[in-house]
Symmetry: C2
Subunit: 167 residues, 2 copies
DNA sequence: CTCAATCCAGTTGTGCGCAACTTAATTACA
DNA sequence: TGTAATTAAGTTGCGCACAACTGGATTGAG
């Protein structure tokens, strides 16, 4: 985007102040959708006694089995500041056990309890109910996911790589 | 991942357990993108001394002028439980004033201070910097916004209107 | 007019997300 | 080998989001 000096041209390009309109902000739509999802998940997960974030942790554990906190965080884009108390709550709920790795005393392995494994049976229906609430078909979901993941990658690069190209 | 034996059936009906994979969850991509945005906004808004949510409140006030808390919440999809403490902080920062409406003593009018109005000048460049970080062009942004807004509407209807069709 | 229902802002309590920090263990290198 | 740098998990502090609730103002049905 170039700087427009001339007053005449300025009328033709959108005035900078219009970019400050709420309904122009992609991030707001994103944020709103994310929170709307939260509301639906809150209802759907109520029976299981889980929050959405706790559900995500269990998804990863159901898929990958025992994992150190670090790896869990890489899958979920969360750090120990978020995960430590969350895992403590999951442990208190009897769904998960944490134990120091023997191989590396810094690391803590997180694994499902019997109860945690068993919960998967009841969680199987969750994605279907969520999918129904979105009203999206598979192709739309995959397209949207791809776009969002690219967007996330671009945003992650900000600061790290302000000029993404051959230097 | 399982080897697919009976191609015809298995292809059409993905095993329910596969729906529990993290990378199938649209909400996770959404959530991740939203948080990635948060990181960029945190950097960009640091100079202004604002959080992203505070910035959104100011966007609405810059656009609409004085508003009661209720209306503010409707624009932002937030309730008083979130807005009250947030507005208190904005007031403490000297950007906003709150006063009981004379016409309706239940209502509280939120208006910008001189300082709050002045901050707009410095905020004008924010959308440009955010836009640069996303790497999206205008058409992509608008398409994505439209999709997300439709998704939000569908999710909002969940519970309220389980069968949205002509009756 | 009356009083019950509704509405608005605010408070409380819980959980998430993240920066900044601490502690302890491991690794690297001089 | 000894020590400095790095790494992992946890803690603290802050702000946001939301459910559930309170208290006071307004509205409306009778």
């Amino acid at each position: 985007m170039d700087e427009v000096r001339s007053a005449t041209l300025e009328r033709m390009t959108t005035p900078a102040t219009d970019w400050l309109r709420l309904d122009q902000q992609i991030c707001f739509s994103l944020n709103a959708a994310s929170r709307a999802f939260g509301g639906v998940y809150r209802v759907v997960l109520k029976d299981l006694g889980l929050t959405y974030s706790q559900y995500l942790v269990l998804l990863v554990l159901w898929e990958h089995g025992e994992l150190p906190v670090k790896k869990l965080g890489e899958h979920l884009r969360l750090d120990s500041g978020t995960l430590s108390p969350l895992l403590k709550r999951l442990e208190a709920a009897g769904l998960v056990r944490r134990e120091r790795s023997a191989r590396d005393e810094r690391s803590v392995e997180v694994r499902l309890t019997e109860e945690g494994v068993a919960l998967r049976e009841r969680a199987v229906e969750v994605p279907r109910r969520i999918s129904a609430a979105t009203g999206l078909d598979l192709a739309e979901v995959q397209d949207l996911r791809a776009r969002l993941d690219r967007l996330t990658a671009a945003l992650d690069a900000y600061g790290t790589d302000p000029a993404p190209g051959p230097s």
